[in-house]
């Protein structure tokens, strides 16, 4: 770290040259869970009128640290000072007394209540004057530039509106130290910009703001200073204006990292591998979650799928994998071994496999679907292969050697192959899952949010694996959330907007006037206008019958 000029490491006195006292200061905070050291000797401070980014990879202890400020955890040792006074925060109530407000990653709102009702929920001021509250909510909105209808019900809200409600909720209670835990993870690029503008206004208003993130460009565009954590340790604090992505990454990871993804051109002899035609799919409530989806996945390419969370990405992959009932439409797989076109429609995953279709699927819900958390790595390897071999008994020798191979090849950090996968960190869980899916030599590989929650090194391991598969001629379908990655990695990007395809973008071509990212962002929220009216009546009843039949 010596090369960095303005890194302050030790705990320092925390008083700025001009004699100002930090709004909040942490000194030598340590917190352990069992043998895991979540935070070790962490010291940082934030002044009023300042935005501090707490940067670190997943599992570096950012959220644990913030939870100690907001009273959810209690530190094992160390001190917290507010305005220079040592304080004791034993519960969220204490935190609230010190005007600390935390906006969590997962919203805690009541769906059937309006924005205002949620905001004042639990507020005990002896009266319940909703119109007056609404006026105050409006005031807060106007002051900081939020866009929110105080009367709107939460179930009608977009993710970004829900987040707005959460932020106003803490402001309403008079918080002047705000902590935001990964606020941009669920937002589109446009929404992120809007949020940042709001945060800047709050800074001007004299609030102290801490934003937890692992996205470097956000840190650089928003914050005044950056405190970096790595594996639970405090690395240092730098002034944003004096640093850059490369330096921050090095601090965060502890070593030099190549941040480029090498994309090769798809082969000339690329053939259609998977053809999806007019796919329609309904959820349990009978609402169409996929509407007339048609696309072709080519061999030897990575087809990216972008969209706001919940736009039908999961349903699309699951219907291809044979886990969703289709209302209508076709899914055809061109088998490279036989040359035959196999119809995958309404087949179970097992039937699909028995057809000789080599389809691998890394689902979004790794421990709930792709793996069994309580089973060890060997037994999880067996999920795909346990039926093989004759007889009643399980063969654990092949899965055991596969487990060893994956542990070695992908560098899975684990005490051993017999460790339950739920004990592994997110990145290692994902390596186990991706490793298993690739081990069956797929011709189509579908991955949903494969790097969510992964650190930079693990993410790049996964990107490289996907690229390798692509170069082997596998048709890779990649559902991602980070547009920068999608743009760098994919050969084509299909954008979903509320269950429909709003566009297919070539990431090698720059659009005119706007950036590629903005173009995709616009497509993500674009309303796809009137696809032709489907002849409802007869179609509906016949597909309902088909559904019954498929049910068995």
């Amino acid at each position: 770290m010596s090369e960095q000029t303005s890194v302050e490491t030790g705990s320092g006195s925390g008083v700025k040259a001009d004699g100002r006292v930090p709004a909040i200061e942490l000194r030598n905070i340590t917190k352990t869970f069992g043998e895991v050291i979540a935070n070790q000797d962490i010291s940082l401070n934030v002044y009023r009128g300042e935005i501090l980014s707490v940067l670190g990879e997943n599992g570096s202890g950012k959220t644990t640290l913030m939870n100690m400020i907001s009273g959810i955890y209690y530190p094992d040792s160390g001190e917290i000072l507010i305005d220079g006074e040592e304080v004791l925060i034993r519960s969220p109530k204490d935190a609230f007394r010190y005007k600390i407000g935390m906006i969590h990653q997962h919203f805690k709102l009541i769906d059937v209540f309006t924005a205002t009702e949620n905001i004042v929920l639990g507020l005990n001021d002896g009266r319940y004057d909703l119109p007056a509250y609404e006026v105050r909510v409006k005031e807060i909105c106007d002051r900081y530039g939020f866009v929110l209808d105080p009367k709107k019900k939460v179930y009608d809200m977009s993710v970004s509106e829900k987040q707005t409600v959460e932020i106003i909720k803490v402001l309403f209670r008079g918080a002047d130290i705000l902590i935001l835990d990964e606020p941009t993870a669920v937002l589109t690029p446009q929404e992120t910009d809007r949020l940042f503008n709001v945060l800047r206004r709050m800074r001007e208003d004299g609030k102290a703001i801490i934003i937890i993130t692992h996205k470097l460009h956000e840190v650089l565009s928003l914050s005044d200073r950056v405190s970096v954590l790595c594996k639970g340790r405090y690395i240092g604090t730098v002034i944003t204006a004096e640093t850059n992505e490369q330096k921050l990454t090095e601090m965060m990871v502890g070593e030099k990292v190549d941040l480029n993804i090498h994309r090769s051109d798809p082969p000339k002899d690329s053939v259609p591998r998977l053809v999806v035609n007019n796919l329609v799919c309904k959820n349990e409530d009978g609402i169409e979650v996929l509407k007339n989806i048609s696309f072709t996945a080519m061999s030897g390419e990575i087809l990216g799928i972008a969209g706001i969370a919940g736009s039908g990405q999961r349903e699309l992959l699951e219907s291809i994998a044979g886990l969703e009932k289709l209302e209508s439409g076709e899914i055809t797989y061109n088998n490279p071994a036989t040359g035959a076109a196999e119809d995958l429609r309404n087949k179970s995953p097992r039937q699909i496999r028995e057809l000789g279709v080599r389809l691998s699927f890394v689902p979004e819900d790794r421990l709930g679907m792709g793996l069994v958390g309580n089973m060890d790595i060997i037994d999880n390897m067996m999920l795909r292969s346990y039926r093989g071999g004759r007889g009643l008994f399980l063969n654990r020798t092949d899965p055991a050697s596969l487990a060893e191979k994956i542990i070695n090849d992908l560098g899975v950090v684990t005490p051993g192959a017999k460790t339950p996968v739920r004990r592994l960190s997110g990145g290692n869980v994902q390596k186990v899952l991706v490793g298993r899916e690739i081990a069956s030599a797929p011709t189509v590989l579908m991955v949903a949010y494969p790097v969510r929650g992964l650190d930079i090194n693990s993410s790049f391991t996964i990107y490289n694996l996907l690229n390798e598969q692509k170069e082997k001629g596998v048709s890779v379908i990649f559902v991602g959330e980070d547009l920068d990655v999608l743009i760098e990695l994919c050969d084509r990007i299909l954008v979903l907007s509320s269950g429909q395809i709003s566009g297919i973008v070539d990431p090698r071509v720059q659009p005119e006037g706007i950036t590629l990212k903005e173009q995709i962002g616009l497509l993500m929220t674009k309303k796809v206008s009137g696809t032709e009216e489907t002849p409802a009546g007869s179609e509906e009843s016949s597909s309902a019958e088909g559904k019954e039949a498929a049910n068995d």
Binding site: S13, T32, F33, G34, E35, V36, Y74, D76, E79, E86, L88, R90, A321, G322, L323, S348, P349, R350, Q351, I352, R353, F361, P363, D365, G368, M369, G370, L371, V372, G373, N374, M375, D379, M382, L383, R384, Y386, R387, L392, F393, L394, R423
Partner: protein, 371 residues
């Protein structure tokens, strides 16, 4: 300034709970052993308080009641065997997270079937054939009783806990109906020992040991269950379905089929237990033939974390406590609920100690640190 601050007295919560991750097996075993010892200690204190017996007298009475004579020893092992057999029956379902609390009814209906065969076919079939028929029909009866809730669960997702519980009552009522019909003498309300002279339908005893066959059958079942659950494809499917139905669907396991198949097995083992109770031990049927073992078995299965081998220990422990405490009640003239209380103490301690296996308690650190 900072030095001043450090000396400021800051009150910290007195007790912290910290999760522990990987307690070594030996340590966990030690904690459990201490828990059982503690349970017995509480029993002694409790016994002293209400009947004034010294701890050594209580322990002695318990040992005497269970191991005192040869008959008592056989009885203890037979009770263990039946309890273990029913525990083995509920375990596959539990591993699948199918909360089958209907083992009582599944076993009772099998008891009734066995008794019915003995009454109706006792003088018509040669004994080996009769035994075979009884075995097959008892297993079928247990299976049907288990399959009905399983079908409802698999196809309409009904709540299996309530359903299996209700099936218990149905089984009890059917049994009491037939006991009335077949009672000897007519209308007396009990059947009495069936075929007391011909012994037809009585499970043959090996040598002079009437219960040995029951015990051997259970030992074989225990080992088979262990292998089935841990080393067979079926057992693996059961675990996957139990852990996550979503994962099961994802890899193409037919969840419905697994539910039905597993409950068939569960019911079949209950059927076997029912056959062993009637043919191998009681030679009659009453509504209390199973005597709550169907519920005790749930506890055994849970205590052993669904591991058939560990279950044999817990089944033995519960049989021992029950019989031992019963001896105390006989000698001291206490109500028989004393046995339940004693079992309760020990089990409370065993379950309670799980807390100490999962968590570590940290007290407030000493102020001396800064001195």
């Amino acid at each position: 300034m900072t030095d001043e601050k450090k000396h400021k007295h800051v009150r910290e919560p007195l007790i912290h709970l910290a999760k522990r991750d990987n307690l070594p097996r030996s340590k966990a075993l030690l904690i459990r052993t201490i828990a059982i010892a503690l349970g017995i200690l509480i029993t002694c204190v409790f016994g002293f308080l209400i009947i004034g017996w010294s701890p050594s007298r209580i322990v002695h009475a318990m040992l005497d009641g269970t191991f005192g004579t040869e008959n008592r020893r056989w009885d203890l092992f037979e009770k263990t065997a039946i309890l273990l057999c029913i525990s083995l029956a509920v375990t596959p379902a539990f591993r699948m997270r199918f909360w089958n609390i209907g083992a009582e009814g599944q076993t009772l209906i099998a008891c009734l079937t066995s008794a019915a065969c003995m009454i109706k076919l006792g003088d018509k079939l040669p004994n080996p054939v009769l035994l075979l028929v009884m075995l097959v029909l008892s297993i079928t009866a247990g299976m049907i009783w288990a399959l009905i809730p399983a079908i409802f669960k698999a196809f309409w997702n009904t709540n299996e806990t309530l359903f299996t519980l209700m099936m218990n009552y149905v089984a009890t009522q059917i049994t009491s109906y037939f006991i009335y019909i077949w009672s000897v003498p007519k209308g007396s309300g009990h059947i009495g020992i069936i075929n007391p002279t011909t012994h037809s339908g009585w499970l043959v005893s090996i040598g002079d040991y009437p219960y040995l066959l029951n015990i051997l059958v259970t030992i074989v079942m225990t080992i088979t269950s262990y292998i089935y659950l841990n080393h067979c494809k079926h057992g693996y499917e059961i675990s996957v379905v139990g852990e996550s139905e979503k994962t099961a669907r994802y890899i193409g396991i037919n969840v419905k089929a697994v539910i039905l198949r597993t409950m068939c097995i569960s019911g079949a083992i209950c059927g076997l237990a029912g056959f062993l109770i009637v043919s191998g031990a009681d030679h009659t049927v009453i509504t209390g033939s199973v005597g709550g073992l169907g519920f005790t078995a749930i506890m055994v299965s849970w205590l052993a974390k669904f591991n058939p081998l560990a279950m044999s220990f817990f089944a033995f422990m519960i049989a021992f406590l029950g019989k031992g405490a019963k001896e105390i009640t006989t000698l001291s003239g206490l109500d028989s609920s004393f046995a339940d209380i004693v079992t309760g103490f020990v089990i409370f301690c065993i379950i309670g100690c799980e807390f100490f296996i999962n968590y570590k308690i940290k007290m407030r650190r000493k102020e001396a640190k800064h001195e």
